[in-house]
């Protein structure tokens, strides 16, 4: 056979490719009209749903801002609550109460949560049943309703074994137990994201396991841990239900303290109380309180998520 009559290899490859290309193109362009229509309607439905979700959630913020607008003034932050004089009422004791509650939560939750996460990620042998129990237990605790933590706080912390009474520290401890699983899960995730090559590199130099964790793993995991802590703490700020059970009272007019047994208040509890009153003035006050709370929370959450996106995938 004369070589001229044969199609050279590269030429054949080109023919084959263009053949495949044409076939594919025909399949793609010959798409029945109905399919295209269905696809477009489907996409429109998706976008519609997404719009409803985002608009609904945005409406919560907008509505509070509009409704609360008449009450916006510095009095909101400096004045105490009042049942008779809504125009002069504010959130000061409740704000300070929330501040203390959160301070307590952070002090408890950061060391405990990070320590538990370090144990579960770095030390625990996942093949041992007790470690699996701890793991499952943390996952499940993260999904227990907050009101159940309120019951725990009431029966175990306020009364029962700890018997602290209705004091701010009891509320703080209850909220800390509530967000602890979230902090553990987030910290575990952050610790797991540190590549094992870093651990191996450190151990191969003769560092002990704790030196490796303390000096390599934890510093590298800090952004993720901080993000998790901020998200958990912001959840604690907005939690209302458990505080109803552990004695956050409403009309406390003085600034609370950690162990004082003459009552304490918290921002969301006071908001809830104002909102359940029928008078319009109190509802305005509640809406203004919501705005104060949302501004703080959204700022914290946005910062946490920015932090995560900024530092994620460094490896």
């Amino acid at each position: 056979m004369a070589p001229r009559t044969r199609i050279p290899g590269t030429e054949r490859a080109r023919l084959a490719t263009s053949g495949a290309h044409a076939t594919t193109l025909r399949r793609l362009t010959a798409q029945p009209g109905a399919d295209i229509w269905k696809g477009n309607i489907f996409l429109a439905a998706l976008l519609f749903a997404l719009t409803i979700a985002l608009a609904g959630l945005a409406a919560i913020i907008l509505q509070a801002a509009i409704e609360g607008a008449p009450a916006f003034s510095i009095k909101l932050l400096t004045n105490g609550p009042s049942t008779v004089n809504p125009e002069e009422a504010g959130f000061r004791p409740a704000l300070i109460g929330t501040l203390y509650l959160i301070l307590g939560v952070i002090l408890l939750v950061v060391p405990l949560g990070v320590a538990a996460a370090v144990y579960l990620e770095e030390y625990a042998d996942g093949n041992r049943w007790w470690n699996r129990v701890v793991e499952l237990n943390v996952q499940n605790l993260a999904g227990v309703p907050s009101i159940i933590y309120g019951i725990l706080g009431l029966a175990f912390i306020v009364r029962g074994p700890l018997d602290l009474g209705f004091i701010l520290a009891a509320g703080s401890l209850t909220l800390a137990l509530l967000v602890l699983p979230t902090v553990i899960l987030a910290s575990r995730e952050a610790i797991r994201a540190v590549p094992s090559s870093i651990r191996e590199g450190s151990l191969a130099l003769g560092a002990t396991q704790w030196q490796t964790i303390r000096r390599q793993v934890l510093p590298a995991a800090i952004p993720g841990v901080v993000t998790g802590v901020i998200l958990a703490v912001s959840r604690a700020i907005g939690e209302t239900a458990p505080l109803l059970l552990v004695g956050a009272a409403t009309f406390v007019t003085f600034n609370p303290s950690f162990l004082g047994d003459d009552g304490y208040s918290a921002l969301p509890v006071l908001i809830f109380n104002y909102a359940s009153r029928p008078q319009e003035e109190f509802r305005v006050l509640a809406a203004a309180g919501v705005v104060v709370m949302l501004v703080v929370l959204l700022a914290m959450n946005s910062f946490a998520i920015w932090l995560r996106n900024r530092y994620e995938q460094q490896w």
């Binding site: 509505q63 809830f272 959204l298 946005s302 996106n309």
Partner: protein, 322 residues
């Protein structure tokens, strides 16, 4: 082994080299102590669960023994009036109240949340995703008391105007409470289902596109079924949140223990009962006090079952794709 002797002959250590020490220079008690301290912190979570179970069970036990409420009466009775004379302790009305608000919430949130997840995972460009997903996550942090207030002062009057049958006793309504709960759980469903769908390997999508599938078919027939266990997990977790939600129902659902799924009716849920009753000053050991714990136990069992199921489903899809 005869082989070892031959090799052993090479094993002479050069005397000129200092002997190396392979033993630890110190017993490193600190290292061991740290491990135990960390383990103790992890154990604290188990203690929390134990404390929850104990603090629920002891008064619940009193509820059924000392207070003399029958288990059958509690679980199957249709009248809920624990503080009235004569009192009745049939939990069904408040159980149905919980199921009703959760059901209406899920009915709203599941299609919306899943659609948002499909868009995020299959349609959104990386840039759109980078904006929309964090926004959803930030919105997921809105406190439920704020959502409840929104439901009470905005949604309820609005829906009363548009669909009067949805709000029988203004401003309270199980349907509106469900809608507000739905808003609360949409970000959870969207975010977790998106994670599940994105963990489906790209190869599967490419193979389907290679066979000439449209994007809609790839999303609905390939990716969605492949991610189904993760998606179910997200729905179950969202359902568990809906069942456990307190503030929204306290504000919007009302306080009448009506045994009905009617969205227009006012209902009392289990969480609302606990929240409402425990706020008042009640003495330890009274029957009202015990009732809170009995209802709490039931709520705990329901959410525990949902959570364990969700955790199992998540493990399943992690096993397959990770």
């Amino acid at each position: 082994m005869e082989a070892r002797d031959t090799i052993g002959a090479f094993g002479s250590v050069d005397e000129a080299r200092p002997a190396t020490i392979l033993e630890a220079p110190s017993p490193r008690y600190g290292e061991k102590l740290i491990k135990w301290v960390l383990a103790a912190c992890a154990l604290l979570s188990v203690l929390t669960t134990t404390a929850i179970v104990v603090s629920l069970l002891v008064p619940t036990f009193d509820f059924f023994t000392r207070d003399g409420v029958g288990l059958g009466e509690f679980l199957f009775g249709t009248g809920w009036a624990p503080t009235f004379q004569p009192a009745s302790f049939g939990v069904l009305p408040i159980l149905v109240g919980t199921l009703s608000t959760s059901l209406w919430g899920m009915l709203f949130a599941v299609p919306i949340g899943l659609a948002a997840a499909v868009w995020l995972s299959e349609y959104a460009s990386p840039r759109q995703r980078k904006v929309v997903k964090p926004v959803l996550e930030v919105l997921a942090g809105i406190p439920t008391v704020a959502i409840g207030i929104f439901g009470l002062v905005f949604l309820s009057p609005l829906i009363e105007d548009v669909f009067p049958f949805m709000v029988n006793v203004p401003p309270f309504s199980a349907g509106v409470a469900g809608l507000a709960i739905g808003l609360m759980i949409v970000p959870i469903i969207a975010s977790l289902s998106d994670d599940a769908m994105r963990s489906v390997p790209g190869g599967l999508r490419e193979a389907a596109y290679g066979l000439g599938s449209t994007r809609m078919k790839v999303s609905t027939r390939v990716v969605f079924p492949a991610a189904i266990s993760g998606i179910i997990a997200s729905l179950v977790l969202a359902g568990s949140r809906a069942v456990g939600e307190t503030m929204v129902v306290l504000l919007v659902a009302g306080a009448s223990p009506n045994l009905t799924f009617d969205p227009g009716s006012s209902v009392l849920t289990m969480t609302a009962f606990i929240g409402q009753t425990a706020t008042g000053d009640i003495s330890t050991g009274s029957i009202t006090y015990d009732t809170i714990f009995a209802v709490g136990s039931l709520l705990f069992v329901i959410t525990l079952a949902l959570n364990l199921f969700a955790i199992r489903m998540v493990r399943k899809y992690r096993e397959v794709y990770e």
